[in-house]
Symmetry: none
Subunit: 90 residues, 2 copies
C-alpha cells in the first residue's frame, strides 16, 4: 500500500496519519531503524513529511498500539524488540 519512500498524499482517500503509520512500518521492515533504536523525533518527522505534530503523534500512537513502537517520555520513540520478526544479519 505504502512504501518506505512514499510521501504523504494530503488529498488521498487514506488519512495522513494512517499513511504515516504505514510508511514508518515499511521503513522499519526495511531496516531503516533497528529494534531498541530510536526513530526520528516528532519534530523531525513533521519536517520530513510535512505534517502537523498532532498528526505525527497520531500515526505513532497507531504503531504503539500495534506494538511496533514504544515511547520513552522525554527521551524518544523506539522500535520494539521483535520476538519473531527478528532479522538475523551481521
Amino acid at each position: 500500500m505504502f512504501g518506505p519512500d512514499d510521501l504523504i498524499d494530503h488529498d488521498g482517500p487514506i488519512t495522513p496519519y494512517r499513511q504515516l503509520a504505514a510508511i514508518l512500518k515499511a521503513r522499519i521492515a526495511r531496516g531503516d531503524w533497528r529494534p531498541n533504536r530510536p526513530i526520528p523525533s516528532e519534530a523531525r518527522l513533521v519536517q520530513e513529511y510535512g505534517l502537523a505534530r498532532s498528526t505525527v503523534r497520531r500515526g505513532i500512537a497507531e504503531l504503539v498500539a500495534e506494538g511496533v513502537l514504544f515511547v520513552m517520555p522525554q527521551r524518544g520513540t523506539y522500535v520494539s524488540p521483535s520476538d519473531s520478526t527478528e532479522g538475523a544479519e551481521g
Copy 2:
C-alpha cells in the same frame, strides 16, 4: 443525455438526483476529477447545483453503487481507481 456542463432541470422528467449522477459521471469521464482524487464536498455540490443535501447524497450513492465513486467516512468522496480507463499521470 446529460453533459458535464449541464445544470439541474428541477421541472424536467428526470429526477434531480439522476441528473446529478449523470452530470458527475460526465465530468469524471471528461477528467475534471481523477481516480483517487476527491470530488467536491456535498456542501459544495449543494451550492453549485442548487440541490438539497439529501438529493446530492442520493446522487452520489447512485454512483457509489455503480462503482464510479467510493466514500471514505469523515473524509470525503473519491473517484474510484479505474482499472482500464487508467490514465497515466506523472
